[in-house]
């Protein structure tokens, strides 16, 4: 009983779905014809891109400089600063600061990319605390 019902149901459903898809499929092919078909981003291979969220940061003299926890972009979408969390113990007493994106260097050491902030730990620790609700204070290297 139940199998026979399914046999009838399947073609009915297929026809119903075809009717729904047909007009949008026609629209889609029209749009595709306007643009030349091309694979997306052929120049970017997998090992050339890396996620930066949660990435460890080293200071100028190879000290532990914390971790990138957020990125800040301006209205044009350009990334301007990275929020770095550092210090504390067991997550207690950490500080967050926003560092100018240009003050970060990404250097490859064979397999992995190392993020180096062009500051010393002493410069990092006294930087004003980053507050999400207020304009971020961004430190530049030249200061």
């Amino acid at each position: 009983m139940s199998t026979s019902r399914r046999v009838y149901l399947a073609p009915t459903l297929a026809i119903f779905l075809l009717c729904q898809i047909a007009p949008s499929a026609a629209q889609l092919s029209g749009e595709l014809a306007a643009q030349p078909a091309e694979p997306l981003n052929p120049t970017l291979r997998r090992n050339q891109l890396e996620s930066v969220l949660g990435k460890e940061v080293r200071t100028l003299v190879e000290e532990d400089g914390g971790r990138i926890i957020d990125l800040l972009a301006d209205r044009s979408g350009q990334v301007r600063a990275a929020v770095i969390e550092f210090g504390g113990f067991l997550g207690i007493g950490t500080r967050k600061i926003a560092v100018d994106w240009s003050a970060l260097r990404f250097e490859g050491d064979g397999k992995q990319t190392v993020v180096i902030v062009d500051m010393t730990r002493d410069q990092l620790r006294v930087a004003p605390e980053y507050k999400p609700n207020e304009p971020a204070v961004v430190r530049r290297l030249s200061e």
């Binding site: 949660g54 210090g87 113990f89 067991l90 950490t94 620790r125």
Partner: protein
């Protein structure tokens, strides 16, 4: 002689076995160990797992909200459970499973589930330890025994903070949660050593056996109408309103002010108070028998505004570590005297664990508001003002205690 007094007298002759008392030592030690990773460290771990700040904040908020709601039902459940050990064992298993979930599958759904599991298990485990203690030794001897519990918990806290912190720093944040799951095994073994026959379930609830429904509501009313419970709850709320944000603020200050030794100094700020608690808790438990509860509570509550004022005054990172020893005095007093006072207040009602749940809620509300308030003050006026504000709340708690809190120690002892 009332009914529950007769029952207590009958049990007084039955001394718990050495194996059970040893088991309780190790149980309190390991419970402190398995709770360490679930604090602020969870957000460090989630950061390493590429979580966004929004998601981390959401999970933490869900956790603290659930914790506020869970304390009273947790305590009620421990009162209701016939075997306190079984309730504690399920809670420990829950914490172990939660740690495994966190380590193995840091997706949003699993972390929320693990967080809720941990919150539920903790709301049972906290009262269950005190219930097992009271059930083992009875009211007459519970003060010194709570002092001993606080010592072992403090050693567990201090050691776990050091070891887990080093593990997170040198190995990986994930390893901390694997270690937590593994440590659930010795926790259960220690619990196993406490003999079921040594823990009197009636005594563990604070007195009478639950008989009829009408009697139960009568004793519940008697507990809730006790002004001492409400005053203690208000004092504890204000205490944690002052206390909870202090250590994070201290740590952040030390991180800012010390270059080379920041990590070690923040660790010292966390571990030093635990050393003090381990050193003085048994004495606090003994003194509670001879001095009574009130003078000790006043010392513990008085130490907090003093600490806040000193922290507002000093900038030197080494001085800050020294001031943190005062936290050990408050820690020892609250760790011993709060459950002891609750045992006094709930005596004969059979609602000891519900009373603990109520105090647990007060703690949670105070701690949550503390973080929000201190963050606001520190943002606007700097950390010295935040410390002063926290000290003011602590002073208010002290004054309320001084003015209103009665001595709860029974006259006969």
């Amino acid at each position: 002689m009332r009914d529950w007094e007769a029952k207590e007298a009958a049990h007084a002759s039955k001394a718990p076995s050495r194996a059970s008392l040893r088991g309780l030592d190790w149980f309190t030690f390991f419970v402190a160990d398995i709770q360490t990773g679930f604090g602020p460290f969870l957000s460090v771990y989630l950061t390493t797992q590429k979580w966004t700040q929004v998601d981390i904040g959401l999970v933490l908020a869900v956790g603290s909200f659930a914790s506020l709601l869970g304390q009273v039902p947790g305590g009620w459940l421990v009162d209701w459970a016939r075997s306190k050990q079984r309730a504690a064992a399920l809670a420990v298993i829950g914490i172990g499973v939660s740690a495994l979930l966190i380590a193995l599958a840091p997706t949003f759904v699993t972390i929320v589930a693990a967080k809720l599991l941990h919150v539920g298990a903790s709301s049972v485990l906290g009262p269950a330890i005190a219930a097992i203690t009271l059930g083992l030794v009875g009211h007459a001897a519970v003060g010194p025994r709570l002092g001993r519990n606080a010592r072992f918990a403090a050693i567990g806290n201090g050691l776990a903070a050091g070891v887990m912190g080093a593990c997170g720093y040198f190995v990986s944040a994930q390893a901390v949660f694997f270690a937590t799951a593994v440590l659930a095994v010795p926790t259960l073994l220690a619990l196993w050593r406490i003999r079921e026959s040594d823990v009197d379930p009636v005594r563990a609830d604070g007195g009478i056996s639950p008989c009829s429904a009408s009697q139960q509501t009568a004793t519940l009313g008697r507990l809730l109408r006790n002004p001492a419970l409400l005053i203690l709850a208000a004092c504890v709320l204000l205490f944690h309103l002052a206390n909870a944000a202090m250590l994070p603020l201290v740590g952040s200050d030390v991180t800012m002010r010390s270059s080379r030794w920041a990590t070690a100094l923040v660790a010292a700020c966390i571990i030093t108070p635990q050393l003090v608690v381990a050193a003085i808790s048994p004495t606090v438990g003994q003194l509670a028998q001879s001095w009574g509860r009130r003078p000790l509570l006043l010392i513990g509550f008085g130490a907090l505004p003093l600490r806040g004022a000193l922290l507002a005054w000093t900038n030197d990172p080494y001085m800050i570590v020294a001031v943190q020893t005062i936290d050990g005095v408050s820690g020892a007093v609250l760790g011993v005297l709060v459950p002891l006072t609750l045992a006094d207040i709930s005596r004969g009602t059979g609602r000891f664990n519900l009373a603990q749940g109520i105090i647990g809620s007060a703690t949670g509300i105070g701690a949550t508001l503390s973080t929000i308030g201190a963050g606001y003050l520190a943002d606007l006026f700097g950390s010295a003002t935040a410390f002063a504000g926290l000290a003011a709340s602590g002073l208010f708690a002290f004054v309320l205690l001084l003015a209103m809190m009665p001595e709860t120690k029974p006259a006969a002892e």
